[in-house]
């Protein structure tokens, strides 16, 4: 051992001192400060404050989502509903009005005021599409899908109001289910959101601001239908059949053996639907009528009725119809449907309380096969008002195998169809 290590005691004392220092240091180490004790009442108050803050944050989040969506929404002054800017061309989709809209519609958007003209009104009048005449470029809503959504996630309903401000309500997505509006079957979005008049034409969006459904009027209730169904409805309404409904409020079907025999007509087209308050209704057309001529030109197919929709400035026309085995002439005034000014508002031409309410339809019955639904009102059987319930039951019974023509009222339309005739289009 070298010389320095000869002083063993000295080194041993140093080693002992070092050990003592380490031991003492560990022992003297300050204890962790105890957590301050909080009373139960204070804990509860803090929890409540935290929850309140979370809810406030949630409200701020949805407000920001709605703020991001609102440039895609317009307020349609004349229709009193929200419109959704549907595509880059600026087409605006809204819930269909009860009556055809007036000539022009003005819309309030975040980019300014614009003028629109009705472009398409779907045959079932659930949806209207309006085309911009002038105005700034609009930002369309982003369309989403419910495909990846799981029930229970947040969604948000956004609609514009008369002053231009927007309303939003967060809710919870529940799924989709088929629903029938009038004569058309849609996929409807189900949620806990209240669908009311103020939401009409507005949309239900996911939390990324993608449109999931459009709020429309569905007979006497509201429904949120998915964008693909809206697109289908628009496409359907651009056919002549749709135009006839939009322009004149009329739905027809070609004759077949049953309807020829029923109407005692050899050629023509049969009226199977008339929209309340529309030109066809005002002119006096009814389901079951067979139009045989238009302005002295024989009518054989639906396309022969084009003069009714052709122009805004057409001359007066005359329809010849077969009704209850009699020939009737109906004058169609020289006015275009969309330039007539008044949308026939307030003219309740059909009293909804009239007729017999169909409370239920047995699945597979001939009434069901003909498209009759619960909620329809039965107005006529074979051209006559039924005298009593017994007569109605007898006429609609499956035991009765004779073809019967019934006129129903559903939503805002009168519709006619044959029972026991599979060739006549099912009423929609």
């Amino acid at each position: 051992m070298p010389s320095r290590l000869t002083q063993r005691e000295y080194i041993a004392i140093l080693a002992l001192t070092s050990t003592a220092i380490l031991g003492l240091g560990v022992w003297l180490k300050p204890k962790q400060l105890p957590e301050p004790t909080i009373s139960g009442e204070e804990t509860l108050r803090l929890q409540t404050l935290t929850q309140r803050r979370n809810l406030e944050n949630l409200a701020v989040y949805f407000s920001e989502v709605a703020g991001g969506i609102q440039p895609g929404l317009a307020w349609l002054n004349e229709l009193g509903s929200t419109g959704l800017i549907w595509n880059q061309a600026g087409l605006i989709v809204t819930a269909g009005p009860n009556h055809p809209p007036p000539g022009e519609v003005s819309a309030l958007t975040t980019s300014g005021n614009i003028s629109l003209e009705p472009q398409v009104l779907s045959e079932s009048f659930r949806i209207a599409a309006l085309k911009p005449i002038n105005g700034p470029r609009l930002q369309p809503v982003r369309k989403g899908t419910t495909a990846g959504l799981t029930p229970g996630i947040w969604i948000i309903q956004v609609a514009r109001q008369a002053g231009g401000q927007y309303l939003f309500t967060p809710g919870v997505y529940a799924g989709t289910s088929p629903t029938t509006c009038g004569s058309v079957e849609y996929q409807a979005l189900q949620s806990n959101l209240p669908l009311t008049e103020s939401a009409l034409g507005g949309g239900l969006f996911d939390v990324d601001g993608n449109l999931l459904a459009v709020v429309v009027r569905c007979d006497d209730r509201f429904a949120a239908i998915l964008p693909p169904d809206v697109d289908k409805e628009i496409a359907r309404a651009t056919t002549f059949e749709g135009q006839l409904v939009r322009a004149y409020g009329l739905q027809v079907a070609p004759l077949n053996a049953v309807s020829r025999k029923y109407a005692q007509a050899t050629e023509g087209v049969m009226v199977i639907g008339v929209a309340d308050g529309h030109a066809a209704d005002l002119d006096g057309l009814n389901p079951g009528d067979v139009i045989t001529a238009l302005d002295k030109v024989p009518v054989r197919i639906q396309d022969d009725l084009r003069p009714l929709t052709a122009s805004k400035d057409r001359a007066a026309l005359q329809l010849v119809i077969q009704r209850n085995r009699r020939t009737v002439r109906i004058d169609v005034p020289a006015s275009a449907p969309f330039t007539s000014g008044e949308p026939h508002g307030g003219m309740a031409l059909t009293d909804a309380s009239q007729g017999y309410l169909v409370e239920a339809v047995v699945r597979g019955s001939r009434a069901a096969r003909a498209g009759i639904q619960a909620g329809d009102r039965l107005l006529q059987i074979d051209g006559k008002q039924p005298q009593n319930v017994t007569a109605v039951r007898k006429a609609l019974s499956d035991d009765n195998h004779d073809p019967i023509f019934v006129v129903l009222h559903r939503g805002s339309r009168k519709m006619g169809t044959f029972l026991n005739d599979e060739d006549i289009p099912k009423i929609r």
Partner: protein
């Protein structure tokens, strides 16, 4: 990339960088750090933050070995002859740097707490870079001796000053919040200061004693290496466990060893011949951890910090060395050897982030950016000083060189 592959990359790129920097007459350590920056997570990403975290144990071991080597300069005979003079020089350069940095920070609108913390951090010098350059230059002489002594002491001073500033900040906060439990706060503030100084030295002495006693019975170089590595690992591990300073404890092991064992020269020589891989890992990892992007955010504060610190070190070292009558070469060049700053400064920033989160943003932005500069410029300055002093020597040719 997994940790073993990262470790392989670290060693190989370090070797490559070491060769490359020799062509431009830069210290190897600069090459290691620069290549670490390149392969690190902020540039190429070959070494991720996760890899760095997992491999940090190698850094700890390397730092322990480095400080153990630095501790060898505290030979009692040397301390008796030059110790007091070196201590005065260290006090002068450290405190002048701290005063200049603190004053500048206060003048630039920083709070007194952040300014004092920055001032205390400014005292530290990077022992690892310094020792690495000294080894690379194989230097010996008055400048080298003084430099080793100064870096050994000024890191102790830095730790002491930091603990003292922290205690003052805690006490001030206690008084401003009503002054309750003053004694308890004082105790909580002073304890880390005393514990880190006294406890680390005590631990280092005990491990050093173990090493010195055992070293007398070990003759083979391989066994010596096992003994040293085992003791340094034990020291670093226990220091971390007891929340002591690994830096000070490792330094104390080296100091104890050199004073108690006649075998110490053989032992330090054995260590010097086998620890380069640890050094390479340490410096490449230090480079990987550097975010040069921070230089953009350092702003006026960072620039003033660097300038005030360097000015304090230069002026303090020059005048104190002159006053103490140290050799002219020391008076002229010692300041160059004190620019480097690294591990300890970064460690103290981590402590500040944990202990004073409200002060952390101001302090960390300045220190991290300044370290990025000092790590690259410092070793170059040290090499410059050593080469100019004429203390650098050719490495003696070893048998392995001859065989090659």
């Amino acid at each position: 990339m997994n940790e073993l592959a990262s470790l392989g990359i670290i060693l190989l790129v370090a070797l490559l960088a070491g060769h490359l920097v020799k062509f431009v007459r830069l210290p190897e350590v600069v090459g290691y750090i620069a290549v670490g920056v390149v392969v690190g997570p902020y540039v190429m990403g070959w070494i991720s933050h996760e890899n760095l975290a997992t491999l940090s144990v190698f850094s700890q071991v390397a730092l322990g070995l480095i400080l153990f080597s630095v501790g060898s300069i505290f030979d009692i005979q040397r301390v008796q002859t030059v110790g007091l003079r070196v201590l005065r020089v260290t006090l002068a350069e450290s405190f002048l740097a701290a005063i200049l940095v603190t004053t500048s920070m206060i003048l630039l609108g920083q709070s007194w707490q952040a300014s004092l913390l920055l001032g205390s951090i400014a005292m530290a010098t990077a022992p690892a870079s310094t020792l690495m350059v000294i080894r690379e230059c194989n230097s010996s002489g008055p400048l080298t001796e003084t430099l080793l002594g100064v870096i050994g002491v000024n890191n102790i001073l830095c730790l002491t000053a930091f603990a003292a500033v922290a205690a003052v900040i805690d006490l001030s906060a206690n008084m401003s919040s009503g002054g309750g439990e003053f004694l308890q706060t004082l105790y909580r503030s002073i304890y880390p200061l005393v514990w880190q100084l006294v406890g680390s030295v005590a631990l280092g002495f005990l491990v050093g004693l173990l090493l010195a006693s055992w070293a007398t019975r070990v003759t083979e170089q391989g066994e010596l290496l096992i003994l040293i590595t085992g003791c340094v690992l034990l020291c670093v591990g226990v220091a971390l466990l007891l929340e002591l300073s690994t830096l000070l404890a490792s330094l104390a092991v080296g100091a104890t060893m050199v004073n108690l064992s006649a075998n110490s020269r053989r032992l330090f020589h054995a260590l010097a011949s086998s620890d380069p891989p640890f050094y390479a890992i340490f410096f490449v990892m230090a480079g990987s951890d550097l975010n040069l992007g921070l230089l953009k955010t350092m702003g006026v504060l960072g620039i003033v910090y660097v300038l005030a610190r360097v000015a304090g070190k230069f002026i303090g070292a020059k005048f104190a060395a002159k006053r103490e009558g140290l050799e002219p070469v020391v008076q002229r060049l010692l300041g160059f050897g004190l620019i480097a700053q690294a591990g300890l400064a970064l460690g103290l920033v981590v402590t500040i982030t944990r202990r004073y989160p409200e002060l952390a943003p101001a302090v960390s932005t300045v220190v991290l950016a300044a370290v990025a500069i000092s790590e690259l410029v410092g070793p170059v300055a040290i090499r410059l000083a050593i080469v100019h002093s004429g203390e650098a020597r050719e490495h003696p040719r070893k048998p392995v060189d001859v065989l090659a």
